[in-house]
């Protein structure tokens, strides 16, 4: 067995962002190779570099073919596909208005002979391949578990979400690929559907197909891959067998984050604590008279059930954290609370305000303010203008001006840059600006969505200090974080969210010692 795909020192930067920063790896022919890493680690960028959607800045991507190794870098995507590299997309990219069969037929494009003349003057002998292709397409659909004939021809967008994911795999298989790249094939699926994806990958591999699997679901990746590489900030931080990778300290730190230097660095599930730690943290006392009370909340995006029967509460003066892996449903919960999404069922009350029916601006005026993921500052407006917009709902202009001046003093980073366009601030400074902007709406409850996302470690410290400070000043905080250890350090209580459910809850310190937390991130 030779090497099918060999990456040597591949580099791709976007401006100052080192999306892929010198990655080398080798995928053996016949392997199922896993590529994992936290959000923003560069996994999809790497796939786009291999498949020709992005140009490498340096390094080589070589594909083993029967005629020797071929350089893929600098080939356009269709040429890479022509060499037998098929892929699926993280966000579905089906031909939405074509039927399932038509989607698969398009996938056969490189091996379909040009039949333009034959079709223009319908010559039967030249059209013979048509029926065979149709049969093959139906076969592929059955192969991935899609019975297309069941309900007649209908556009692909009307299929259920899971079926659409399966259809993308069938379309990729239509190429008869030598390497199949699956970019999060199980995203948004429930456990039973994920099992079927796992079975399919294993079957295809048993028939000789080499698979490169990218997914956030550690159970899936650890379950099917014999070889895994871990990316973080564009670099490969570990590779090897699933067992080796999942116990690698660098990997655990990349996924769970790192505690601040001042406390002893203990990793959840590390041996000496494991022995004493209870398997399940005792549920922390739920607040008796919560400021925010969520009961049996269900949220869905079309066919995807993102949040399943979630209940929790936040009392006045608390910091409560929702932690869990990417795609667990944390941001969906916050967006539902601030009125941007409407739940399918359940209740959410903030004081006397019914969050499931109140309009987003009514919710902000009621004192529930969200600082969104990715910060969402207005890059072309100055720092001051961004802050002024944060007070949009208020009528007391003079008080607002005074508060802005105070904020500039409290956060000198902002004061010094008050007349700079906000887009010129660093990621961490932008996050502090976003929090300050949120404060100007006079929140009684501040929702923070991934405040440390994509930030360098020192900036993470700065942002967490800010959160601690505003909490001491009396603001109640509901925090969503992937950086679990930092969040647990800060939080009075926390809830661990996994695939839309609350898996565990407890005080921050109890959860920090609970091995189940690590499982929720890294798989069991």
């Amino acid at each position: 067995m030779g090497v099918l795909l060999r990456l040597s020192d591949v580099i791709r930067h976007f401006g100052g962002v080192h999306a892929v920063d010198g990655v080398s790896l080798e995928i053996e022919e016949g392997a199922i190779f896993g590529l994992i890493g936290p959000n923003g680690a560069g996994k999809t960028t790497l796939v786009n570099l291999v498949t020709g959607y992005l140009r490498t800045q340096s390094g080589s991507v070589r594909l083993g073919t029967p005629a020797g190794e071929v350089e893929l870098a600098r080939r356009p995507p269709h040429a890479v596909a022509g060499l037998g590299v098929a892929r699926t997309f993280q966000t579905l990219r089906l031909y939405r208005n074509l039927t399932a069969v038509e989607n698969v037929l398009v996938g056969m494009h490189p091996r379909r002979p040009d039949d333009t003349l034959a079709q223009l003057l319908p010559l039967p002998p030249l059209r013979r391949g048509e029926q065979e292709r149709l049969e093959e397409a139906r076969g592929l659909l059955r192969r991935v578990g899609l019975e297309s004939e069941r309900d007649g021809p209908r556009p692909a967008w009307t299929l259920s979400y899971g079926d659409q994911r399966r259809l993308e795999v069938a379309r990729a298989l239509a190429l008869r690929p030598r390497l199949l790249i699956l970019d999060e094939p199980a995203a948004g699926m429930n456990p039973a559907e994920k099992d079927r994806v796992r079975e399919l990958i294993q079957q295809l591999n048993a028939e000789g197909l080499t698979v490169l699997l990218i997914d956030h679901d550690m159970r899936l990746v650890m379950g099917v891959c014999r070889q895994i590489a871990v990316l973080n900030f564009g670099r490969k931080i570990a590779d090897g067998s699933p067992v080796k990778v999942s116990s690698d300290p660098a990997v655990i730190e990349a996924y769970l984050g790192k505690e601040a230097e001042k406390t002893a660095a203990h990793v959840p599930g590390s041996e000496e604590i494991d022995v004493q730690a209870p398997a399940r943290a005792p549920a922390a006392a739920e607040p008796a008279a919560p400021l925010l009370e969520v009961k049996e909340l269900e949220v869905a995006y079309g066919a995807i059930q993102a949040v399943r029967s979630v209940s929790f509460g936040v009392a006045k003066g608390e910091i409560v954290a929702l932690i869990g892996a990417n795609g667990a449903g944390k941001s969906t919960i916050l967006n539902t609370l601030s009125g941007l999404l409407r739940p399918r069922a359940g209740t959410a009350r903030f004081d006397r305000l019914d969050l499931t029916t109140a309009s987003p601006d009514r919710i902000v005026r009621g004192g529930l303010v969200q600082v969104p993921e990715g910060r969402e500052i207005l890059a072309r407006l100055t720092v001051r203008e961004n802050l002024e917009l944060g007070a949009w709902v208020r009528r007391d202009g003079q008080v607002v001006q005074r508060e802005i001046a105070e904020l500039m003093e409290r956060f000198p980073i902002l004061g010094q840059r008050r007349n700079l366009p906000a887009g010129q601030l660093s990621g961490g400074e932008q996050q502090i600006l976003a929090i300050a902007r949120g404060l100007l709406a006079r929140p009684r409850l501040l929702l923070l969505d991934e405040p440390s996302l994509g930030l360098a470690p020192q900036m993470v410290d700065a942002v967490f200090e800010v959160i601690e400070r505003i909490h001491k000043e009396g603001v109640t905080v509901l925090l969503v974080e992937q950086n679990a250890l930092r969040a647990l350090e800060l939080a009075d209580r926390a809830y661990v969210v996994e695939t839309g459910r609350i898996l565990l809850s407890g005080t921050g310190s109890a959860l920090r010692r609970n091995p189940e937390v690590r499982k929720a991130y890294l798989g069991g």
Binding site: H78, R93, L105, V106, D115, R171
Partner: protein, 307 residues
């Protein structure tokens, strides 16, 4: 109403008294087929009037000066439009959506202001006299061309080429992951569209004694776009139906002469609101049915379907 009554009761008489209208419908139908090809591949190009001008001027000039036979002039006119399509396509086909539309409008304007109105041989702003025109004989090639072109384009959508176009229209990124050479296939669609527009221009010169440069501006381009929008683009018949309908409309509305453009605009808005997929939808010619009616029908039907 006389218009319809005559069409139904006395088709031969109708044809004889509306020959020019019929010829114009035919030319517009070919233009509609031309924009359909680029639409089918997902490209919003508005260069058709420009390619039409190239076809028209080339044909007339070749029949005036070298005095070559007319069919050859028309062929060369269409092919030159196609060649211009390659030249224009190379820089602009990297653009998408509204940017492509703006760039192709730029081409039309540049051609009109920069070349046609500036080069002595085209008669500049005066236009060109075309003494060889034959308004009655000219209708024959138009009427023959329409079924042939309709058939060919309909078949084309079923080939490997047409399948690639549909894929590009639905999702360019996915299409290239399926091994489709997206720039090449877009270019092919663009050039076929240019050739067809050039051909329509060539045919039009044959029924008019005068080539008028103001015919080939932005308003013509927008008119061609409306054929496709009103008729619908999921099927080659859509733009053709749109062209015939919109060409006949001013005649039908003669009795409200002063408000013709207003009513034209109102009809366009109504079609866009109530039938965004065009008169000819994916399922073929369906009745115009507003969405709220459809919804009510479904609610009423649901208990039955649950059984």
């Amino acid at each position: 109403m006389d218009f319809f009554i005559q069409l139904l009761t006395d088709p031969i008489g109708f044809y004889n008294s509306h020959e020019l209208l019929v010829a114009q419908m035919g030319i517009n139908a070919i233009l509609a087929i031309s924009i359909f090809v680029t639409f089918y591949s997902g490209q919003l190009t508005l260069a058709n009037a420009g390619f039409m001008a190239i076809g028209a001027y080339t044909t007339v000039l070749l029949s005036l000066y070298p005095q070559w036979p007319l069919p050859l002039d028309m062929l060369l006119g269409s092919l030159l439009a196609g060649a211009a399509g390659v030249l224009v396509g190379l820089p602009v086909l990297r653009l998408r959506g509204v940017f492509l539309a703006i760039a192709t409008i730029g081409f039309v304007e540049a051609l009109l202001l920069g070349v046609i109105l500036n080069v002595p041989i085209t008669g500049e702003g005066q236009g060109l006299k075309n003494p060889t025109a034959d308004p009655l004989g000219g209708i024959v090639p138009i009427l023959v061309s329409i079924p042939v072109l309709t058939y060919l384009v309909w078949r084309l959508t079923r080939t490997r080429l047409g399948q690639a176009w549909a894929a590009i229209r639905e999702d360019e990124l996915a299409a290239s992951s399926n091994g489709i050479n997206v720039p090449l296939y877009k270019m092919i669609a663009f050039v076929i569209g240019a050739i067809l527009a050039g051909y329509a221009g060539a045919l039009e010169t044959h029924i008019n004694f005068f080539v008028d440069p103001t015919e080939y501006g932005i308003s013509r381009t927008i008119q061609i776009l409306t054929f496709a929008v009103v008729g619908g683009t999921s099927n080659v018949l859509g733009p053709i139906v749109g062209a015939v309908f919109l060409t006949a409309l001013p005649e039908i509305l003669r009795f409200v002469r002063d408000y013709r453009d207003v009513i034209n605009g109102v009809i366009l808005i109504l079609v866009i609101i109530f039938r965004p997929q065009g008169i000819v939808g994916r399922g073929g010619l369906a009745l115009i049915r507003p969405r709220w009616l459809h919804r009510r029908g479904r609610v009423r039907g649901s208990p039955a379907s649950a059984l």
